[in-house]
């Protein structure tokens, strides 16, 4: 009876799912938006994207080796590639190569492996990297360009792209501000939102992505499609995205109603910046967000409100990354206070009272 192992216990059937499959599905969901944006921003974006993901995977391999863990199995879970992907999507598309490499060190080395590797990190690796880069290199990290679709007139060829990404030669003429940045700068010069908003791309362009911004900030429609795909695949549920976007929209609408000259409206908040990417792909990160649905609603609402607050009052035009990191730090507490009610017990954990029967 050699085949019978007596120590084995149930269940003797398991769902066909794995971390690898989950991560891969997320990558798949990001694919359309990424492909479209790489097309929009051309060769430099493609180079940066490749460098960033490559660096993240390399950083993961090095960290695993240093920790003496099996590298091959862990690398195949795609989690490092996903972090790299999300990081690349939050960078200015024409940023130099070392931004990607440094970002990988921050994301994988600092945010993930100093905490113990996959599943252990408290903060979203991609967002840690983005914030660290933004604080350290504010100029490079806000050097946005208008889309230069591949093969279009004036778009850099591969050789130009190599000069841009690896030589740091961004032609001055192409830089542009993102919509959020523009409105903010104008506001600081005393120009009310009601005027400046006329100069930003209209909402349609913002939805489609033909505007300045990072890869993930443009093309809300394709990000939304990817998000819906993840919901259909039951990788994420509606709770986080709805909470993030709902709270952001409500805050925007409310304050816009109070003072339209000072505050942009809810729809503008929804369509600009990294709202969609954040709501569907960043705030839903398993590791750094609460485990219960109730907790996810609170977490999402917090992200939305903080994003609005930072966009509106703080020095940075985009606040999603900061908001996510702040909420990440609250995740353990949210988890603790949003445990589901156990069967047969009150919320406090006492056995339910026996009701006066029938």
């Amino acid at each position: 009876m050699s085949f019978l192992s007596t120590h084995q216990s149930g269940p003797f059937t398991h769902q066909v799912s794995s971390v690898q499959k989950t991560m891969f599905t997320v990558l798949l969901a990001l694919m359309p938006a990424t492909a479209f944006n790489l097309y929009l921003f051309g060769w430099p974006a493609i180079l940066l994207f490749t460098v960033t993901i490559g660096s993240c995977v390399a950083a993961e391999a090095v960290c695993l080796m240093l920790a003496g863990q099996p590298t091959k199995a862990a690398l195949s879970d795609y989690s490092a590639a996903l972090s790299g992907w999300l990081l690349a999507m939050s960078l200015p598309p024409w940023a130099p190569w070392w931004i990607g490499v440094l970002g990988a060190v921050f994301a994988i080395g600092l945010a993930k492996h100093t905490f113990g590797g996959i599943g252990q990190n408290m903060f979203n690796p991609a967002m840690v990297a983005r914030v660290a880069l933004l604080v350290s290199f504010p100029v490079v990290m806000t050097a946005w360009v208008m889309p230069h679709p591949l093969f279009s007139a004036g778009a850099p060829g591969l050789a130009d792209a190599i000069a841009i990404t690896f030589g740091g030669q961004v032609p001055d003429s192409v830089s542009a501000a993102s919509a959020l940045g523009y409105v903010k700068t104008e506001l600081s010069r005393g120009i009310p939102v009601t005027q400046s908003i006329a100069h930003v791309p209209d909402l349609m362009d913002m939805a489609l992505g033909t505007r300045a911004g990072s890869l993930g900030e443009t093309s809300a429609v394709l990000i939304l499609a990817g998000g819906l795909f993840l919901m259909a695949k039951r990788i994420i549920s509606w709770h986080t995205p709805v909470a993030v976007m709902g709270s952001l929209f409500l805050m925007g609408t409310l304050f816009h109603a109070i003072d339209p000259a000072r505050y942009t409206d809810g729809l503008f908040h929804l369509m600009s910046g990294a709202t969609f990417l954040g709501a569907f792909f960043i705030c839903t990160d398993y590791v750094t967000s609460p485990v219960s649905k109730k907790g996810q609603l609170i977490f999402g609402a917090g992200c939305g409100m903080l994003t609005w607050t930072i966009r509106t009052y703080a020095g940075y035009p985009e606040g999603m990354a900061f908001a996510v990191l702040l909420m990440n730090s609250l995740t353990p507490i949210i988890d603790q206070y949003t445990r589901p009610r156990a069967f047969g017990r009150t919320l406090k954990g006492e056995p339910l009272p026996l009701e006066g029967k029938l």
């Binding site: 149930g10 485990v291 009610r341 069967f343």
Partner: protein, 491 residues
């Protein structure tokens, strides 16, 4: 009938089609049968026979060993070959005292107790006594002595007997077949049980993936106004007692209470059939229907097997193995136990014997938890498996207990769903064992402390008494002396 939602749950691959269309067949009588003294929850039975004795089918060969226990009966006629230690169908693989019967092939019945002529005129006690004497236990897998559960009606006010025909475990089809083939026997048994319990209403709950069973049972119950047959959603673990009660009545059994405390007693459908046999024919529980299935079995089947037939006999009857099984399971794949050996006998609570291939089990090496929250969403008990597991990994059973690990019904849903393949339910079973041991230790320490305190008290009391006696004596002496002095004092 209006149903109520239950929390969480999963939809595993059911694979019931492997055996669901196979009518129940009787196993050809094996040459030797092995009757363990304990195949139920409670005290083991006590042997009544000696080696060499001749026994008849249905004769009691071991009597009930206590208040929570059941007797065992000879499943066929023959000779007691030995009373010895043999491997039992328990994951520990430990041997257990077992009565070995060499069948004589005549399968001759002993003289059985008289049928209870009109069970609905009989009192609760008479029916319970018969059920107890017939060795009936819960046949859904729990194997709790049925008579104990049937006597709950004398203690609590009940309104419903809930007959569990959910059969929510994948692969298993024995209850489905019994309902399709012996509906009338189940209904009769259920009515007798309801009468014994004093429950005015009977609800028979069947998962909707068994439409024929629902149909046939509905027809069989049509004549009785007090019986309702209800199709319940296919949602594992619908068959869990507390969850089924909630789905049917909307009532949530408080923690650490019985469903009887909220007016409902749950019995399995096959148990009802066994009660019918015991009451109407005086026949004890000597056989049961077992589903033999799984990808490694050549011809899956539903087999009426005598208690004590070896698992190997049933597998052989199904044409043997088609592929080398990766696991052999007693019960369903979600909550079943690994079978330690093919030599283990069929016991009263054994609903299935599964020989599963590695592909069916799909057990992968565990990796780190990614906090996906799936286990939290699906836990039917509202627990947070990921959190409990984290504390158990650190051997912190106290926090695990505070998080509710003792409320876990070990349904296995969390392990099933976990994308990191963490054996969560194994953690919880381990923690429950450890907490029970600690609890026992604590009680023992408490006891020691109480005894020690009592001892000190006794010693102190004795010392005090002694001192008091001494003082009294002194006082007496002093008084006497004083008196004497007084006497001596000239007036």
């Amino acid at each position: 009938m209006k149903l109520f939602p239950i929390r969480g749950g999963i939809h595993p691959d059911y694979r019931k089609e492997l055996a669901s269309e196979k009518a129940i067949v009787a196993l050809p009588l094996p040459a030797t049968l092995y009757i363990p003294l304990q195949m139920h929850i409670g005290a083991p039975a006590e042997v009544l026979v000696n080696e060499g004795d001749l026994v008849k089918k249905g004769q009691m060969i071991a009597r009930s060993g206590g208040a929570v226990s059941v007797p065992q009966h000879a499943p066929t006629s023959g000779r007691i070959q030995a009373i010895t230690q043999i491997v039992a169908p328990h994951p520990s693989g430990l041997a257990q005292t077992t009565i070995v019967i060499e069948a004589d092939g005549k399968d001759e019945w002993a003289e059985l107790p008289e049928p209870i002529a009109d069970p609905f005129a009989a009192d609760t006690f008479a029916i319970n006594e018969r059920v107890a004497a017939s060795g009936i236990v819960g046949m859904g897998g729990a194997a709790f002595p049925s008579a104990v559960k049937l006597s709950l009606g004398t203690l609590k006010k009940l309104d419903t007997l809930l007959l569990n025909g959910a059969e929510c475990e994948p692969y298993l089809t024995c209850d489905d077949r019994v309902m399709r083939e012996y509906a009338d026997e189940i209904i009769d048994g259920a009515r007798i049980m309801a009468h014994a319990l004093g429950a005015p209403k009977v609800v028979i709950a069947i998962e909707q993936n068994k439409p024929q069973a629902i149909d046939i049972m509905t027809k069989a119950a049509a004549a009785f106004a007090e019986i309702a047959v209800v199709g319940v959603p296919v949602q594992y673990p619908m068959g869990s007692e507390r969850h089924l009660v909630q789905a049917i009545t909307g009532r949530e059994t408080p923690a650490r209470k019985l469903t009887a405390d909220i007016g409902v007693v749950v019995h399995n459908v096959a148990t009802a059939r066994a009660v019918h046999h015991a009451v109407r024919f005086g026949r004890p529980l000597v056989s049961r229907v077992v589903t033999v299935s799984g990808g490694a079995v050549r011809e899956p089947n539903n087999i009426e097997a005598p208690i004590g037939a070896r698992v190997a006999d049933l597998i052989a009857f199904c044409g043997g193995f088609e592929a080398e099984p990766a696991s052999l399971v007693n019960g369903g794949p979600m909550m079943g136990q690994p079978l330690p050996s093919l030599d283990a006998p069929v016991v009263k609570g054994m609903s299935g014997i599964l020989a599963l291939t590695a592909a069916e089990i799909n057990q992968q090496p565990a990796s780190a938890c990614i906090r996906c929250g799936s286990c939290v969403t699906i836990c039917p008990c509202g627990l947070v498996p990921v959190e409990m597991a984290a504390f158990i990994r650190k051997d912190n059973f106290e926090v695990a207990a505070r998080l509710g690990v003792m409320d876990c019904v070990s349904c296995g849903s969390c392990s099933w769903v976990c994308p990191s393949h963490i054996p969560l339910v194994q953690y919880f079973n381990y923690a429950k064992g450890m907490i029970n041991i600690q609890e026992r230790e604590r009680r023992k320490n408490d006891q020691t402390r109480i005894l020690a305190e009592a001892h000190t008290q006794r010693v102190e009391k004795a010392a005090a008494e002694k001192a008091a006696a001494l003082a009294a004596k002194k006082a007496q002496a002093a008084a006497a002396a004083a008196a004497k002095q007084k006497d001596e004092t000239p007036a």
